[in-house]
């Protein structure tokens, strides 16, 4: 037990500080992950983009130059095109991301994952994706939906490869 009142006060303050620091920092300040009135969009899917260069038939002369065990009728460069995705809200640009295919030769399937926030309310949400090299910057897949997005709603955008189209849920 403290021997004097001042010693008691020092102990009290020390324990109060210990108490107070844990009391506050164990839960606060509250972290606002999403601003009020916002919903969150998560793009998450696996997709294999197209090859950057098309396969071409090997001519007999080309084949002759190769060792016998490497002679194949078609030459297919392995590198695949980056996946480019854009999100639009009411036809206004919201976000864009480019995903480079993984692998040493950039020839593997790409795991697309990105998250964005958007204002809640009734809006048209458009997602469009380019999965091959385009001369005109066009898009290979476009999906749009108009809904009443709720605050705090988690919107998931996937790509269903069985039907080759986006699913917004």
């Amino acid at each position: 037990m403290p021997k004097t009142f001042s010693a008691f006060m020092v102990q009290f303050i020390a324990y109060a500080c210990f108490f107070g620091v844990i009391f506050v920092l164990s839960t606060s300040p509250a972290y606002e992950y999403l601003k009020p009135g916002q919903a969150e969009v998560k793009l998450a899917f696996k997709h294999t983009s197209q090859r950057e260069q098309a396969c071409h038939e090997m001519t007999p002369e080309e084949l002759q130059k190769l060792p016998p065990n490497m002679r194949k009728p078609k030459d297919c460069p392995r590198k695949r095109a980056p996946i480019y995705i854009e999100l639009l809200l009411d036809d206004t640009f919201l976000a864009q991301r480019t995903f480079i295919p993984p692998g040493v030769s950039q020839d593997m399937s790409t795991f697309v994952y990105a998250k964005f926030s958007l204002p809640a309310g009734e809006h048209k949400l458009t997602v469009r994706m380019r999965n091959r090299l385009h001369d005109d910057n066009g898009f290979d897949f476009i999906e749009e939906t108009r809904r009443n997005w709720k605050p705090g709603q988690g919107i998931r955008i996937e790509f269903d490869e069985s039907v080759d189209r986006f699913v917004i849920q």
């Binding site: 303050i13 844990i22 009391f23 839960t27 992950y33 605050p151 705090g152």
Partner: protein
């Protein structure tokens, strides 16, 4: 770095002075941060075992079981859950103060690098252990933590970027959940015990338990916190819902907002960079230790007192090699020796009444400051002492700088640590012209070399070998230990003067 360390040291010394006034040195929580951390881990372990009885390690059952713990059986399991959380938070506080204290008080470099270096990854493991704990509740906070952790893991090159797909919309398998439970309950705690063992493996006589009064005070504070603010969960995970406001435990989950704001790459870079910087601090710049202790077998009886007294476990007793009848001899490990001189003070051969006509040799000595050199310095300063109430003042390198305190009637000898002073030297001083001996050094309970204060006090009071002879009048020997701050220096001067006035001339 020196300026930062000096400023930090002043802050620490000021806080410790305040705490000494309230708790007394013996119970100052800053002097028991390591053992307090162990105590918090004990609370975490016991409370964790209890709540695990009711916890279901599967996705569907986890949240309801935690709700049962929190609300149905609030009177015990709920309190245990809160204690589990708050003791974990308290451990982070004590670890951080411990870390900054060792840094500012310059106890992390030189031979002490190992404890510092191994302490940093220990901190990481504690944080990971805490994070997996939050994961197990499987509420919205847990889902957020899982997803953000997965984003960080997926960022690492060469790892397939697929972990995050396990946690979207709360889609997690029981198997993965069980893996997390295994990590939190067994894998990480075993790793933590191993790292803690490594962390303290280079120091001896570790105090794993804090003083009882301090432990009770800390426990009651955590208990009060558990009753006033019980730990509760966030809402359960719901598909199609994003977390909006999260009540993060900032002691453990502070990195996740960084991931959200800067991205996982920056979060990794900052945390890894800070970790590497902390681990490298002992060499930025490094500290060169003085030459380590050397054994002089011709003077050693193999009593083992030096090995018992060494604060760093650098001395071990091994089979005698010189054919003398004593079974053991000390061996010094130079990689552990800080050259504090405590071993020299513990050796019965460090007796200045021996070998008076030749060079005094002790069984174990500091090559850069031998007992003979100490005797010569003491003898020279005694012969120069004049006036009445003559006092020999022994100081240490880490307490008040006594080198400027010499005056008529006061001779000053500075030691690397007051623990280097053999008790027989006190007798010698009193026999050779001084009326009193005044010993100062680091504050009680805060010896730079861990036990120099305590061993000296015990040797002088006859509780520890080598003992001060009973013939020495106790009133002629005093100790007063303070830090090198100006206020305390003035107090030391006052005490010294008061001691001098109290002395009667020697018979």
């Amino acid at each position: 770095m020196d300026a930062l360390r000096k400023a930090g040291n002043n802050v620490i010394l000021f806080l410790e002075l305040l705490l000494n006034k309230g708790f007394e040195n013996r119970l100052n929580p800053f002097y028991h941060l390591g053992s307090l951390t162990f105590f918090f881990f004990w609370i975490v372990l016991v409370s964790g075992i209890y709540i695990f009885i009711f916890f279901e390690t599967n996705v569907a059952g986890a949240y309801p079981s935690v709700e049962y713990i929190t609300h149905e059986q609030w009177w015990l399991a709920g309190i245990m859950r809160s204690l589990h959380r708050y003791a974990s938070d308290a451990a982070v506080i004590s670890i951080f103060i411990h870390m900054f204290r060792e840094l500012f008080r310059d106890r992390y470099r030189g031979v002490r690098w190992f404890s510092w270096f191994t302490g940093v990854p220990t901190l990481w493991l504690v944080v990971v252990l805490g994070i997996t704990g939050y994961w197990l509740v499987w509420d919205q906070l847990a889902q957020y933590v899982a997803l953000a952790t997965a984003e960080m893991m997926d960022w690492i090159p060469l790892i397939p970027s697929t972990m995050v797909f396990n946690f979207l919309d709360g889609q997690i398998t029981d198997r993965f959940f069980t893996l997390m439970a295994f990590l939190h309950l067994l894998g990480l705690p075993i790793g933590l015990v191993f790292l803690l063992w490594t962390h303290v493996s280079r120091i001896s006589q570790i105090d794993f338990n804090p003083p009882r009064a301090l432990a009770i005070g800390a426990f009651l504070t955590l208990l009060a916190l558990s009753l006033i603010k019980p730990a509760v969960s966030h809402a359960p995970v719901q598909a199609g819902h994003a977390p909006v406001v999260l009540h993060l435990d900032w002691f453990y989950l502070n990195i996740y907002p960084l991931v959200d704001v800067l991205g996982p790459g920056w979060a990794w870079s900052i945390s890894t960079g800070l970790t590497l910087l902390l681990m490298m601090l002992p060499w930025l710049p490094s500290k060169k230790e003085k030459p380590c202790a050397e054994v002089e077998l011709t003077q050693c009886h193999g009593c083992g007192q030096c090995a018992k007294d060494c604060p760093y476990g650098s001395i071990s007793m091994q089979r005698r090699t010189d054919g003398k009848k004593f079974p053991f001899e000390p061996a010094v490990n130079p990689t552990l020796c800080t050259a504090c001189g405590i071993c020299s003070g513990s050796c019965v051969s460090s007796n200045p009444f021996r070998m008076t006509n030749t060079t005094l040799k002790s069984g174990i000595e500091m090559p850069w400051f031998t007992v003979d050199a100490l005797r010569q310095e003491v003898t020279a300063k005694l012969s120069a002492l004049t006036g009445e109430n003559r006092v020999m003042l022994f100081g240490c390198e880490h307490g008040v700088d006594v080198s400027t305190m010499g005056q008529a009637g006061v001779a000053v000898v500075n030691l690397p640590c007051s623990g280097m002073l053999p008790p027989s030297m006190v007798d010698y001083v009193l026999k050779n012209g001084a009326d009193g001996v005044f010993i100062t050094g680091c504050r009680n309970g805060d010896c730079y070399h861990r036990f120099g204060n305590l061993w000296t006090e015990q040797r002088l009071s006859g509780e520890r070998e080598p003992k001060l002879l009973k013939r020495v009048e106790k009133s002629r020997v005093t100790e007063f230990r303070v830090s090198n701050s100006s206020g305390e220096r003035a107090e030391l001067t006052r005490r010294l003067e008061a001691f001098r006035r109290s002395l009667q001339p020697s018979a």
